[in-house]
């Protein structure tokens, strides 16, 4: 089910004018920021198809900027988000994709390349309507999640028993996994696992997961609050 519950239909509570291009864009930006962690110094945003055609009029640009600042959809400062970002030293550039380059999985797709110091991360998200989103790629890994639930992103080595170790720790916290997606760059290479759960990932659990052999880094993404 792409739309999970009644509030994905009635809702979100948001600042206009477009749920796909404004509220959905806020949530894509916010998910990207939480996947990345710190405030990025530089963000290159590629916009595809409908996003590329109409982003100015819908405030898609200010909305993505608001999300990168970790603001929510109803924040009445959204129209001024680009100025806020600039004031915080975040340099955001927009590149509407056209021609052959414009192939994207969904009419409303944005790819955010975030940089801070020597760290870089790319997150691709689609806005599927009514303010609901899907993350469809992180750093070249073909992984998906809806961000409708608390989400964990675990970068780890591709090894026997890795997922068993991860899920065992999660189940010991009586936390139920609703969705999980795994992709690896190569056999026995680097892998990324996304896990959506029915409750929050507490700090102790995240630390325990971080301590597992083969886990290189871990992030929590939570747009549910």
């Amino acid at each position: 089910m792409r739309f999970k519950d009644v509030f994905s239909i009635i809702g979100p509570d948001m600042v206009g004018p477009s749920s796909s291009h404004t509220a959905g864009a806020v949530r894509i930006g916010r998910a990207a920021r939480q996947f990345f962690g710190p405030l990025p110094e530089r963000v290159e945003i590629t916009l595809f198809r409908s996003f590329a055609e109409t982003y100015r009029g819908h405030g898609t640009d200010v909305a993505l900027a608001a999300g990168l600042l970790d603001w929510d959809t109803q924040d009445e400062r959204i129209p001024e988000a680009l100025q806020h970002a600039a004031g915080l030293g975040v340099n955001i550039e927009f590149f509407p994709a056209h021609g052959d380059f414009a192939e994207a999985p969904h009419p409303n797709t944005a790819r955010l390349r975030m940089t801070a110091g020597d760290r870089t991360m790319t997150v691709t998200g689609t806005s599927i309507g009514g303010g609901n989103i899907e993350i469809v790629g992180v750093d070249g890994f073909d992984v998906r999640c809806s961000c409708s639930y608390p989400t964990l992103a675990i970068y780890h080595d591709d090894r026997v028993g890795m997922l068993a170790d991860i899920t065992r720790l999660i189940s010991q916290c009586s936390l139920n996994i609703g969705h999980m997606d795994v992709d690896r760059a190569s056999r026995s290479g680097k892998a990324l696992t996304l896990i959506e759960a029915d409750g929050r990932f507490e700090k102790e659990l995240v630390e325990a997961l971080r301590a597992l052999p083969g886990v290189t880094s871990i992030r929590t993404v939570d747009l549910t609050g």
């Binding site: 089910m1 792409r2 739309f3 999970k4 519950d5 009644v6 509030f7 994905s8 239909i9 009635i10 809702g11 979100p12 509570d13 948001m14 600042v15 206009g16 004018p17 477009s18 749920s19 796909s20 404004t22 509220a23 198809r49 409908s50 590329a52 055609e53 109409t54 100015r56 009029g57 819908h58 405030g59 640009d61 900027a65 109803q74 009445e76 959204i78 129209p79 680009l82 100025q83 970002a85 600039a86 975040v90 340099n91 955001i92 550039e93 927009f94 590149f95 509407p96 056209h98 021609g99 969904h106 009419p107 409303n108 806005s127 599927i128 309507g129 009514g130 303010g131 029915d198 409750g199």
Partner: protein, 306 residues
């Protein structure tokens, strides 16, 4: 959720002797892991935002950033409150209120997407005007939003609710269907009658394209919200009078999916076809963005910084 089609939803309601809103609230609490009271309170807060948007658009300046639209809801309300209205009081009010919320949205004000921001006027227009008409309390209205949400949940998962995916039929069409079905239940109709209202309403917007001028949620979106609220009232009257949707509502949703999937991209929120591509639409586009864009031509590849 225990239902994926409207027929399943209504079947459960009939088996368990529950209205749609009751079943939806129970399912929602199960799905979210939160209590029914918490979920109900959240929906009640959304209704408060809707009412606030109605009154904002009738009392404050709603000029949009583009300057193309704003402040028309006030004019419509003045006319329908006088003797000059063809529609008459309640329907005229629904129309004025729907326009009001839609203008608030276009001016970057606060609204609730129902199911989208482009169609955010229909449900508040219908709900707030009918609340005044029938003297219902906010609890009753909040229940109605659960009904609307249940109907929309099925439509969204079986087809789509965004203009970029399915054209305006997916946005305004879904909103009208949700409002119509919810109003049937608010007025004491059966789940079965609400189901028929959805099919009747949805059939009337099949094929509607999404062709916003300049890519903005303004022209024709705002007036379509106004028209949509009136259509929803009509569909609820038809269903309560006993008209049935001869093609089952689930099948009508299937048609919406088929039509939207076959709709050329220029009619799906790209601002490249329809009203957006008219000479005037193009002129507005060039006034807004500096350079004209012909239909089918690649737009300018400008980079805009922060």
């Amino acid at each position: 959720m225990r239902f994926t089609s409207l027929e399943e939803l209504i079947g459960l309601c009939e088996q368990e002797g529950k209205p749609i809103h009751r079943l939806m609230l129970e399912e929602q609490a199960k799905e979210s892991g939160r209590s029914e009271d918490e979920e109900f309170a959240k929906m009640a807060s959304y209704y408060a935002v809707m009412k606030e948007a109605v009154s904002r658009g009738l009392t404050q300046d709603t000029s949009s950033r583009s300057g193309l639209t704003g402040n028309d809801a006030k004019k419509v309300r003045s006319l329908v409150e006088g003797d000059a209205s063809s529609l008459g009081g309640p329907a005229g009010k629904a129309m004025a209120y729907a326009l009001s919320v839609s203008e608030v949205n276009a001016s970057m004000g606060r609204i609730v997407a129902t199911p989208t921001a482009g169609s955010c006027g229909v449900i508040p227009g219908v709900f707030v005007s009918m609340q005044e008409q029938y003297g219902w309390d906010d609890t009753h209205m909040t229940e109605g939003l659960f009904t609307a949400g249940a109907l929309g949940y099925v439509i969204a998962n079986r087809s789509f609710v965004s203009g970029a995916e399915g054209g305006c039929q997916a946005e305004i069409g879904s909103a009208i269907a949700m409002a119509a079905g919810a109003l049937v239940e608010l007025r004491g109709g059966t789940p079965r009658q609400a189901l028929h209202a959805v099919g009747l309403a949805l059939k009337n917007s099949l094929g509607l394209i999404c062709d916003p001028v300049g890519g903005l949620v303004e022209i024709p979106c705002i007036v379509r919200n106004g028209f949509g609220s009136v259509t929803a009232l009509a569909a609820s009257d038809m269903a309560l009078a006993g008209i049935r949707s001869a093609i089952p509502s689930d099948e009508v949703i299937g048609v919406m999916l088929e039509v939207g999937a076959n709709m050329p991209e220029r009619y799906r929120e790209t601002a490249k076809g329809g009203l957006a591509a008219t000479p005037t639409g193009q002129r507005i586009m060039s006034d807004l963005y500096g350079k004209p864009k012909k239909p089918g031509e690649e737009p300018n590849d400008e980079h805009s910084g922060g």
